[in-house]
């Protein structure tokens, strides 16, 4: 469509302090918008804009600092280089410059504060389209540009002439960037080349993209000598992060540090560094895809392992814009600003937990996005708290329709408000009909798209299952991850993982619908797959039974006419018969257990009342020097403890040792007080344990079998230690058995 064609051509750039957005419209006019109000500030069209369109837009890197406004009284260049730099800085700062590259090779420098062309750089420069311009980071008057003709040119801003020019590539150079230390220059076509700025020699070539790289950006912060930069290429679904060792350039790695995946080619890239505790350096990457989706990535440089096998990172957040009708809106650019609306390239965080999400970390900052048409772009400030979901879809008015809605508002008929008491006597239409009741009007308003109910919205989004069929009639494409499609795919490729996932569904409606639509040639295969899975535990079997039932019910006629039915379904039948053979015995056992357990539950209900009294009684018992009872009781307690608390072996052992001591004591001389204390302690423990044991049991039910087995392992070891104690009684039994057998 026309709209799309326009939007993809739109050049967009944000000033370094974030107060102004420059847009280049397809007819070559540069428009400057205020970010706070989205209002047009200025418009500029160069004299040659019809012959040579604008090919790139780059703001100067200087930040406008409010407190250092010096009077630019010394405009002349001084011999002292530092003061020269300063004077240039102030001068350029005041001018608020933006560089425009054109398709005929000239570069225009426009001053926003003067609202006029500052200078034009063309003599001895490029002969072809200027692809990218880079401003020097350290406030000198140099700017660098690259072009389709393969040359890199260094310009002097003050003298408006070429400082240096060299051939960097046989092919077009699509992007250029200067590192923060001003020592190296990187430029790119399909490969990235690193140049030493002083000697103008090539020092390194890096490969990482299969297409033309349109954007290179350095991170504003560096980690000791390591500098980082990011690259994005047209129609290449990955972004790459690279390192540059500025101290020793030869040690720079040839490999990408990390790549980031997008679901479409990128059209915009912005990198913000995040500094945590002055140590951890992270990067926040904002990338826009061609479809207009904004993806946010976070990468932690400190955590990098030198592994070659790192999977590309996926975005942690994506933001999409949609009109209320659901058609996507393209975002052109985005940037991050602090609460004072100043654009950020560095975020410093104090002591923040690593666990806290990105959204929480950036809570005081705002995300600005630019969208809409070139005629009427919108600049919007989004709070990070709004991006709480990983895939955020923001609903906005269609900017291409705004003029229409405005008109309807303007032509709205204002009808006189007439109260209910007034009777309209005239049969004809003397007054507008809408005046019959105010309530009516309000109701009608509520059906406007802006106030749709949740149900209506869901219907529009197509999430409602019951409306599925209606959708097909509307001619919409059915979803590809529909259960039937997945089932057929799973059966076709025999993918057991996929089938397991599908057969987990337990909703009767879903099952019936899927089975009904299943092509008949997959029916027998599905039954076989079900048979394979039916042999496990009853719990999983119960879900699968639903599938099997519905297959047998729905495809009865097909199965009846299937020639090899008995051969293929015989095994299913056999399996079921084998399983149900012991049904009577099991039922009896169930009955028995029911009876027993009902007693237990009734006992459990009585327990709480009796519980409080028991310890008192117990206390009394032990004082009455009934040592024999104690003897029997003590080990049972320790056993109990061990059983429940197998984790705390040490404690148990100590208790157990004490028990032994107790036995000795009692044999020698009953130190009853000591015993008593221990008795009470152990009993208290018992109470606590029985509580915690219940909790534990619940957890255990959920936990994996393996864990259970580990615990049991421990128990087994305990059993081995205490074997003699535990089995003392049973040994006698065994001997009896032996005697019997001998006879």
């Amino acid at each position: 469509m026309h709209r799309l064609a326009n939007s993809s051509d739109l050049l967009c750039s944000i000033s370094s302090n974030g107060d102004c957005v420059a847009l280049c419209t397809p007819d070559g006019v540069i428009k400057f918008y205020d970010t706070l109000t989205s209002n047009l500030k200025l418009e500029y069209s160069s004299s040659t804009h019809l012959q040579a369109g604008c090919s790139c837009l780059v703001w100067s890197r200087l930040k406008r600092t409010q407190n250092t406004v010096q009077n630019s009284k010394q405009k002349k260049l001084k011999t002292n280089s530092e003061s020269t730099n300063k004077s240039i800085e102030t001068e350029l700062n005041d001018l608020d410059l933006i560089a425009l590259g054109t398709t005929d090779g000239s570069i225009l420098i426009y001053s926003l504060s003067k609202a006029s062309l500052h200078t034009q750089l063309s003599e001895g420069g490029h002969s072809d389209k200027v692809n990218d311009i880079s401003w020097c980071p350290n406030y000198s008057d140099s700017i660098y540009s690259c072009s389709d003709d393969g040359y890199i040119v260094e310009w002097s801003l003050l003298e408006s002439k070429v400082k240096a020019k060299w051939k960097a590539s046989k092919t077009a150079i699509t992007s250029i960037s200067i590192d923060p230390t001003n020592n190296y220059l990187i430029c790119s076509s399909k490969t990235i080349t690193v140049w030493d700025l002083k000697s103008k020699t090539k020092v390194k070539t890096l490969t990482g993209h299969s297409n033309d790289i349109f954007k290179l950006q350095f991170l504003s912060q560096k980690n000791q000598d390591l500098e980082y930069f990011f690259s994005a290429a047209h129609n290449d679904r990955i972004l790459n992060a690279w390192t540059l060792n500025s101290a020793n350039i030869t040690e720079t790695s040839n490999q990408t540090l990390q790549s980031f995946t997008l679901n479409d080619g990128p059209s915009f890239l912005e990198v913000i560094s995040i500094k945590k505790n002055d140590k951890n350096l992270e990067a926040l990457v904002l990338a826009m895809t061609h479809k207009g989706q904004l993806c946010l990535f976070k990468y932690d440089f400190s955590s990098d392992e030198k592994s070659n096998l790192k999977k590309p990172l996926k975005p942690i957040n994506t933001v999409k814009l949609e009109t209320k009708e659901g058609s996507p809106l393209k975002i052109y650019a985005a940037f991050l600003a602090n609460s004072k609306n100043e654009k950020l390239d560095l975020i410093e965080l104090g002591n923040v937990n690593n666990e806290s999400s990105l959204v929480d970390m950036l809570n005081n900052n705002y995300l600005y996005i630019v969208y809409g048409s070139h005629v009427n772009p919108r600049i919007e400030k989004i709070e990070f708290s709004e991006l709480n979901e990983t895939k955020k879809v923001l609903k906005r008015d269609d900017p291409f329709k705004t003029s229409v809605t405005l008109q309807t508002q303007a032509t709205k008929i204002e009808s006189p408000i007439i109260s209910k008491d007034v009777k309209v006597l005239v049969p004809g239409q003397s007054g507008p009909q809408t005046s019959i009741g105010l309530g009516n009007q309000q109701k009608r308003k509520s059906t406007e798209p802006s106030q749709m109910t949740l149900e209506e919205r869901l219907n529009v989004m197509g999430l409602d299952e019951t409306n599925g069929e209606a959708y097909y009639k509307n001619g919409q494409v059915p979803k590809t991850d529909n259960l039937l499609v997945l089932l057929v795919q799973g059966l076709q490729s025999n993918d057991s993982k996929m089938l397991n996932h599908i057969l987990q569904h337990k909703n009767d409606k879903v099952i019936a619908k899927t089975v009904r639509m299943l092509p008949t040639n997959y029916v027998v295969q599905l039954i076989k797959e079900l048979n394979k899975r039916l042999q496990g535990h009853a719990q999983s079997g119960l879900g699968l039974i639903k599938w099997l039932k519905s297959v047998l019910m729905i495809h009865t006629s097909y199965l009846m006419s299937y020639p090899d039915l008995i051969e293929s379904l015989g095994s299913v039948y056999e399996m079921m018969n084998a399983r149900t053979k012991l049904f009577p015995q099991l039922s009896k056992l169930q009955g028995k257990l029911q009876l027993v357990m009902s007693q237990v539950t009734s006992q459990a209900e009585d327990l709480p009342s009796g519980n409080d009294k028991e310890p008192l009684l117990y206390y009394q018992d032990s004082t009455s020097e009934d040592e024999q009872i104690e003897d029997e009781l003590i080990p049972s307690h320790s056993e109990f403890d061990e059983y429940v608390f197998s984790d705390e072996e040490d404690e148990e052992e100590s208790i157990h040792d004490d028990d032994d001591d107790q036995d000795e004591n009692m044999a020698d001389d009953g130190d009853s007080k000591k015993i008593l204390k221990k008795e009470v302690v152990s009993f208290k423990k018992k109470k606590e344990l029985s509580k915690s044991s219940l909790l534990k049991k619940n957890k255990k039910d959920e936990s994996e079998d393996d864990d259970d087995e580990d615990e049991e392992d421990d128990e087994d070891e305990d059993a081995a230690e205490n074997g003699e104690n535990n089995f003392g009684m049973e040994d006698d039994d065994d001997e009896d058995d032996d005697d019997e057998d001998d006879e």
């Binding site: 799973g490 009853a538 199965l559 039948y573 009896k588 169930q590 109990f640 044991s693």
Partner: protein, 523 residues
């Protein structure tokens, strides 16, 4: 003297599919070694000569890997996208196709360059201190990106196929076009040269057709319609059968019958991107965007095995003797899967040598040869008894049961535990064995019952055991929370099993009706 009869541990028959020898053969691979590249790996070729190098083409790079060390030994970077990097049969040269309408030939090893006939070229490359990877030949007559580039059997000709729908054959010595043919109506994306004939080439195109061309008469000799854009083709060594893949189907064609379709295999659910033969042409491997590799037996075209990969597969290579599978994926992962090293005789020998094994220690029979008159008494070895067997032998029923319920036995071989229980029932001592259990071992027993009672092989025994348990411990229930809890769980399991079996009865009814009805219909 009769020996003690051990508990027979029945092998659990697990119903389901039985793994065939072929399936086991293809399962017998080690955990893959994975290398990360930055673009989808669109072509893999394996050198036939040792040390089998592997060349992988992805985006604008061609890497040559050592298949043993799994490291790149050489890499070529270009300023444009490269396609179809493939070796010559002797492994000395490599040809690569490019996006900008040309193809180039590179030498593989610098030191081997002197063997070549092109002295002028090699001298210049050797003279530089850092030898540049300069192409030996460049063929630039095509009008579209060259997606296929392969050496012919005779070593001196190169076949190239391009998006301009033309097939060309270049002479390596003169870099002139020998043959040019507009074989197709659309992009040619796959090509293959015969391994037995100098003159037969096969091309597959996005116009859905596969064509066989004889270079002697410069014309197409056979055309078959695959029905979908052809992604990859293979020719059997005898050149009388052809395999093509496209869409989600793989088709096998008979050339001698003039392009008769022999078999169609639809086992992928997404596009099949790559094909390869295994060692000795016994199996056919296919890889698809559905992340599977499927292995077919070429004797009967049955699906033998399926291998899973983490992302969509674009290319596939098999090393000689199926030593390793090389797989290239769409997100730039290159996976090497090696065949497991088995204990061959030689391998065992080397192990013995390491351990200081003395062959004479047990070699009395071989050193001392008995005469015919000698009466030989063989040394009786004691059968190894498992711990529960030892207890059973001593008639310690309780201990035998406890041993049978030890962690290792009850988890790994529950059928042995059941065997012990059955033996105790047979002896009539099961009640004694179950009685007087400590809380802990009782808990273990109940847990064991709860886990295994739904197994049809164990249900009968475990139902009896639980009946006895309930009779014995009915008075103790309600005393210990932990035991009660286990009983509640056991009850839940049984409830569910009953419910399940009730459902099964219903299905049995349905099935019986269907069987009867079918009998009537067929009569």
């Amino acid at each position: 003297m009769s020996s003690f009869k051990q508990i027979q541990v029945l092998k659990q028959s697990k119903p389901g599919q039985v793994l065939s020898d072929s399936a086991l053969y293809w399962k017998d691979y080690e955990f893959p070694t994975v290398i990360n590249e930055y673009g989808g790996i669109n072509h893999i070729d394996v050198s036939e000569v040792k040390p089998n190098f592997v060349v992988a083409t992805h985006a604008s790079r061609v890497h040559i890997y050592d298949s043993h060390k799994k490291t790149a030994i050489k890499s070529f970077s270009f300023s444009e996208n490269a396609y179809s990097g493939s070796f010559r049969r002797d492994g000395k040269l490599m040809c690569v196709g490019f996006e900008s309408n040309h193809a180039k030939v590179y030498p593989i090893m610098e030191d081997q360059q002197k063997d070549f006939d092109f002295e002028n070229e090699t001298e210049s490359t050797n003279s530089a201190t850092k030898p540049k990877k300069r192409p030996l030949r460049k063929f630039d007559d095509h009008l579209g990106p060259v997606h296929v580039c392969k050496f012919m059997r005779n070593l001196y000709h190169v076949m190239t196929c391009s998006d301009d729908a033309h097939v060309r054959i270049f002479d390596l010595a003169t870099s002139n076009t020998i043959m040019k043919l507009k074989a197709h109506k659309d992009y040619i994306r796959s090509g293959c040269t015969s391994v037995t004939s100098d003159d037969l080439i096969l091309t597959g195109s996005y116009d859905h057709t596969v064509k066989m061309t004889d270079t002697r008469i410069n014309s197409v000799v056979m055309t078959v319609d695959h029905g979908e854009p052809v992604e990859n083709i293979l020719m059997f060594p005898s050149s009388n059968m052809v395999v093509s893949c496209g869409g989600n189907s793989i088709k096998i064609w008979d050339v001698l019958k003039g392009g008769n379709l022999i078999h169609t295999m639809i086992n992928h659910h997404k596009t099949v991107t790559s094909l390869a033969f295994s060692h000795n042409y016994k199996y056919l491997l296919s890889a698809g965007l559905d992340r599977h590799i499927k292995v077919f037996d070429l004797a009967n075209y049955d699906l033998v095995s399926t291998l899973d990969y983490p992302s969509a597969i674009l290319s596939l290579g098999v090393l000689p003797e199926d030593k390793s599978l090389v797989v290239g994926m769409s997100d730039g992962l290159l996976s090497f899967k090696d065949r497991k090293k088995h204990d061959t005789e030689a391998f065992r020998e080397s192990n013995r040598a390491k351990k200081g094994y003395n062959p004479y220690k047990y070699a009395s029979s071989s050193v001392f040869t008995s005469s015919a008159t000698d009466h030989i008494i063989t040394h009786e070895t004691k059968p190894h008894l498992r711990s529960f067997d030892k207890q059973l032998k001593k008639f310690n029923s309780t201990k035998a049961l406890d041993e049978a319920l030890s962690l290792k036995t009850r988890v790994n071989t529950p059928q042995a535990t059941i065997g012990v229980m059955q033996e105790l029932i047979r002896r009539g001592t099961i009640k004694a064995a179950l009685a007087g259990k400590s809380e802990k071992s009782l808990g273990i027993l109940i847990k064991f019952i709860q886990r295994n009672i739904s197994n049809p092989n164990f249900t009968a025994t475990l139902t009896d055991i639980s009946n006895i348990l309930l009779d014995l411990y009915i008075n103790d229930i309600g005393k210990y929370a932990a035991i009660d809890d286990l009983f509640v769980r056991l009850k839940k399991t049984i409830d569910m099993e009953i419910q399940y079996q009730t459902n099964l009865f219903q299905i049995i009814g349905t099935l019986e009706t269907i069987f009867v009805a079918q009998n009537n219909v067929t009569k």
